[in-house]
Symmetry: C2
């Protein structure tokens, strides 16, 4: 980058003279001023906009914070597509999207000073843990921020998510309408609030269906295909009248493992067993059979998060006591081929 | 963010006193200094690191520049996965990745002042056009930058790509070994240098195979499945002894269209027709049949670009006349099921 030192050297004048000339201050001759300006223009000089941003306390930049380094952001589906929505919305609003990625939320906490150093006007935290250590310090420092994929009961925080509880209930109703009553639930990682809410929705769904709660069918798994595979194997080894007729997976990754297990065991989906997930990740249309699932409004979640931050940052009193909002965006049930009527023999 | 004004108010002293206390300057009493420091700490004050970065002329940030807004970065495969590699490498080096996305390179040129305002220490341009208008201004302004997916003959520029010409030649040899001689080539968008190089590799491959060049089989298409579909339809309507036995698609997107057309026409792949692409995009393992293709080293390309920029920026004389480098990273032929021996009848 060309500095005023470079210009001074090239123009054969002092740095002070360059500063006077470019800032239209100081007492220097018109010819000198013009000469300096010509040199500056020829050299492609431009004043440092970061300095200007510092002055007006706006960087036109939003930090996107990941407390996890997945094998790939893209293949994960959720992270990549929310990021997509954020990037688009940022581009349209002349905002820069600044990516922060650390392998854990604790590691981010250790780098809090970098997150909160004024480089970004605001932050978007992607699926923070329930006990994410960043929330309180960010509130205390009055850094505008939003969290996505989390709808915790904290009125100070801007939150964007789907209605996870409602999503689970609607999945249970869908299965119920097809005659399923022995429905297994494979839980996600419970350090996410959303996993807990999905689990609560499962329990509520069972109550609505007046189906007996069977702890043997309500199984901790984690968002991992290998876990789904293993648990499906155990479930399929149960006597036929105890076996579930449907497996509700807390996300699509788990369902991939369940489907792989069914293929290996010769269990027909959906004739013998229905399988349903949540997310509609990239691969879900291409599984065998294609996975019935609930689609997250990835792009809208990302876009709304950007809009909320821009709104907050543009507010004249943006460092006032934070006022949070909760937005639950609609998720859509995507009917594919992995869910069918409960097998007749299995009906009680 | 807490400012020194806030601290002054809270501590009941002047802004000047706060400044003295925090900067260990000025003549103020020890008790006052300690009081101010206590208040500052309690309020979570931290000095603005952007101001500090401005001072040392390092922002620890790398801009990632897209001159296109694809329907989604993620589904595209190339953009998303290179970005993945960049984000990971940035995270490991405590660099921020700053995303700039405009619908065209001209739009980016119009916003050149934002790209070059000192917010980022360097830039990575993702697959610039042959006549990308940013190259010369960035060189003139001595902004450290790299281009990926482009290996133009410009020794001033840091370039990272695969050897597109060599990749095409190796694909042609692979087809040649399986007996193919009537090989159609579906060209990509020729405003990318890489597309041109792939085309040159096709022509070289034909020469090596001593196969006749047939202009009717060397067809402009663009990176678009619909184009691939249409052209495949035309090719399959040729008399059987003029029909290609293999279609070499300049990227996987084109190949998806070709495969869809074959499915609709009942053309068996690879028995009647072999189809091969370049990229190994996300969907390529899941097509029917799975696509044989050349895998781009996405992550390595992204990582090396970050490393080159960090290296350049760390150089004591980083605003010296730019010295470019060219790195061609190895691509890997992924053998799946869409390529087979040439049909016997078709052999000349």
């Amino acid at each position: 980058m060309v500095t005023i030192k470079d210009i001074a050297k090239e123009a054969g004048v002092s740095v002070m003279t360059v500063s006077y000339a470019l800032n239209e201050t100081g007492r220097i001759g018109t010819a000198t001023r013009q000469h300096v300006k010509d040199v500056a223009q020829r050299m492609g000089y431009q004043p440092n906009a970061v300095a200007r941003g510092l002055q007006r306390r706006r960087m036109d930049a939003i930090g996107v914070v990941f407390g996890v380094v997945p094998e790939t952001l893209v293949f994960d589906g959720y992270y990549g597509r929310v990021l997509d929505g954020i990037c688009r919305a940022c581009g349209e609003r002349k905002q820069k999207a600044v990516i922060f990625q650390e392998p854990s939320w604790d590691a981010l906490y250790d780098n809090l000073s970098i997150l909160a150093d004024g480089y970004c006007d605001g932050l978007i935290l992607i699926t923070p843990l329930k006990d994410c250590p960043l929330i309180e310090p960010l509130l205390r420092k009055r850094i505008p921020f939003a969290i996505v994929g989390d709808s915790r009961e904290d009125p100070r925080v801007i939150r964007l998510d789907i209605d996870n509880f409602g999503a689970s209930v609607s999945i249970m109703r869908h299965l119920g309408e097809l005659g399923h009553r022995r429905i297994a639930f494979l839980q996600g990682d419970l350090w996410y609030l959303s996993s807990e809410q999905r689990h609560q929705g499962y329990l509520q769904g069972l109550r609505e269906l007046e189906a007996r709660y069977n702890p043997a069918l309500d199984i901790p798994c984690g968002y991992d295909p290998a876990g789904g595979y293993q648990i499906a194997q155990n479930l399929m080894a149960l006597p036929v009248d105890e076996r579930p007729t449907a497996i509700f997976c807390s996300n699509d990754s788990i369902a991939y493992g369940v489907l792989a297990c069914c293929r290996d065991l010769g269990v027909r989906v959906p004739e013998d067993l229905s399988v349903i997930g949540i997310d509609d990740k990239l691969q879900s249309a291409g599984t065998t059979p294609p996975l019935t699932t609930l689609r997250q409004p990835y792009h809208d979640i990302g876009r709304r998060a950007v809009e909320k931050i821009v709104e907050r940052v543009s507010h004249p009193d943006r460092h006032a006591t934070p006022v949070g909002t909760l937005e639950l965006l609609p998720a859509e049930l995507i009917l594919r081929d992995s869910v069918g009527p409960a097998p007749r023999l299995a009906l009680r």
